[in-house]
Every structure is written in C-alpha cells, then in structure tokens.
C-alpha cells in the first residue's frame, strides 16, 4: 500500500505499524520522536500496535534543542 511519509509517497507492506515504519525509515532518536498520522498525534504507547492504512499521511517531528 502507499502512504505519505514526511510529504513523500512510500510503498510499504499492508498494515505496517508505526513502530515498524520508524525502524524502516531509520528515524533518528526513535524513543523521542513525535508522530502524527493524518494531522493527529499518535500516542507513543500505541506505536507497536497502531497500524497504518492506504493514503495515511505520517509526519515525524523531532526535538531540536540548539540555538545558542
């Protein structure tokens, strides 16, 4: 199935979970990433079980602490 990851269309296996997608996308500091699915926050405690559907839009939001 096709989903949109960070604005880019990706082919992934049907019923992929958020945790699987995080691994597949080599997300940096995966323990601390915020995930939104179709403009709604996904709860981190559900990453292992929440599956994605055709056409879902996923964003990874990262901590960025620098500034000085």
């Amino acid at each position: 199935m096709k989903i949109i990851v960070a604005g880019v269309e990706k082919e992934v296996k049907d019923g992929i979970t958020i945790a699987e997608l995080i691994r597949q996308e080599n997300v940096e500091t995966p323990e601390y990433v915020t995930v939104s699915v179709n403009d709604e926050f996904a709860k981190s405690e559900n990453f292992q079980t929440q599956t994605l559907s055709e056409g879902d839009r996923i964003e990874f939001l990262y901590f960025m602490g620098g500034g000085q």
């Binding site: 500091t29 915020t34 939001l61 901590f63 602490g65 620098g66 000085q68």
Partner: protein, 268 residues
C-alpha cells in the same frame, strides 16, 4: 507620535509597503520584544528587530562572549570577547539604531524570574539552546498568555513554530516533555552551521514583525522545518486538538512552572 524626517528616511522601505506603512511602523516603534538567549538565533533576530525599529528590545542571557560563539553569534565581535553577551548585544543595537531602547537581563531564565521577565513584553523570542529553557518559556508564555516564537537549530537543520494564545498548539502539545539529558544531540556535540542561526533567527524576527503589525499568516499550527543539505523547507501542519495538552489543554496538569535539570547545550 509623529515621525522625524530621519525616521521617515530610515524606515522608508517599511513605510512604502502597503502591509506595514506609517501605521505599522508606529506599531513597531511602540512594541516590546523580549529575546531570551543572545546567541545563534537571538543575535540575528535582535539585529533585524533593532533595524526594523522595534522600540523596546529586552535581551536575557547570563553568558559572556566566547571565541567559539563568533562563528554564528553575529551581534558580538572579536573585541567583545569576555564581555557579558547582553552588554555586547546592547552596544551593537545602540550603534545600529538610536530609536531602540535596550533592556538587559544578565540571567538564566528560571521558574522564579521568567514571569516577571516576560510580563512587560508583547512578543517573546526563544533563542535558547536547551530543553529546560524551551519548556519553561513555553509554559510561562501559555500561563501569561504571551505569544512567542520557538526555534531550534543543529548541524544543517533548523525548525520553528509560533504560539499565539488560543490559536493553536503550544510547544508542549507537540513535544510533551524534555528528553533526558544527552538523549538528543546538542549543538556543542553535533555542531551547527552559523548561517543556520541567520536563517531561522531571521524567520523568528519576521514572525515578531508580522505579529506586531498584524500582517499575513503566522506559523501558528505549523512547524516549519529547514534542511540546508537538501535545501528543503517544509511547513508541517500540526494536530489541531490541544485539549489534552498538559499545559494549554482543557484540564492542565501543569499549573506551576518547572525547572527541569539539564546542563546547557552549547552556551559556551
């Protein structure tokens, strides 16, 4: 307040813009912006706001100018080494624009001083380098109903968002709690290109100018990310539902400011 001839000339490129004009320039001259952190982000933000004629600029920073700062903190120069950053920044702003009153606060922000610091200002710019300060600024601005611009930079990447009370998610809506110390790389460990502060700090100044003059659409409800290596900007829509947020939600569990413990990222 009438403009002097010198002011008409100095701000002529603003005044000619239909979105700013004489009215907008007056708003800028009457406005007060607080910049927390006179570093990579705060330096360009402060300089553009000073040049723009923001009438009162507050600068809060506890550090002194260090040689490793000068690669990006362009408000400070080689002959400011060892000087308090707030004083060095004030000197630069005074040379740039005599219309600007600069208030200096040589201090780290903490739960016991931030409400007083932000109280007098119309817009706050988060130019800090560490998560405890970023969460503190967010929570204080939510509680005091102050708009602010959040930003972060590292390596070749930067991002920012704007919070306006009642108009969308706050920083904590998105990021919940500070990550443990050293869990997420810092600038000092990871490095940052100096121009990244210029790009993102200037965008923060632009958000302040737009907020003050009531021009255009702010980055409320969005996170703007910039990747210099791929040369990509992305305006990511943030979830609208803020009801469950621990500080800005319907039943906030955080009602007092928190001093999280974490070493500075790259202040020196």
């Amino acid at each position: 307040m009438a403009f002097t001839n010198e002011q008409l000339e100095r701000y002529s490129r603003h005044i000619i813009l239909k979105e700013i004009g004489v009215g907008g320039q007056k708003k800028l001259l009457n406005s007060k912006v607080l910049i927390i952190g006179a570093g990579g982000l705060g330096a360009p933000a402060a300089m553009y706001l000073a040049a723009a004629g923001v009438g009162t600029i507050g600068i809060a920073d506890a550090d002194e100018v260090d040689l490793s700062n000068l690669q990006r903190q362009i408000i400070h120069a080689t002959d400011n080494l060892g000087q308090a950053k707030v004083l060095s920044a004030k000197e630069t702003i005074n040379r740039m624009n005599p219309d600007v009153t600069v208030n200096t606060y040589r201090t780290f922000v903490a739960s016991d001083n931030i409400m007083e610091l932000i109280g007098d200002y119309d817009f706050i710019i988060d130019g800090t380098d560490n998560f405890p300060a970023k969460f503190l600024i967010n929570d204080a601005c939510v509680m005091a109903k102050k708009p602010f611009s959040h930003a972060g930079i590292i390596r070749f990447k930067g991002q920012l968002m704007t919070y306006v009370p009642g108009e969308g998610p706050c920083y904590r809506c998105v990021f919940k709690n500070p990550p443990p110390k050293d869990a997420v790389p810092t600038c000092k460990q990871a490095g940052v290109v100096g121009a990244m502060g210029g790009v993102i700090g200037s965008l923060q100044a632009m958000e302040a100018i737009k907020y003050i003059t009531g021009t255009g659409d702010l980055l409320t409800g969005y996170l703007l990310t910039y990747d210099a290596l791929s040369m990509e900007f992305r305006k990511i829509r943030l979830p609208k539902d803020t009801s469950g947020c621990a500080v800005c939600g319907d039943n906030p569990s955080i009602t007092e400011l928190i001093d999280y413990e974490q070493a500075e990222c790259s202040g020196v």
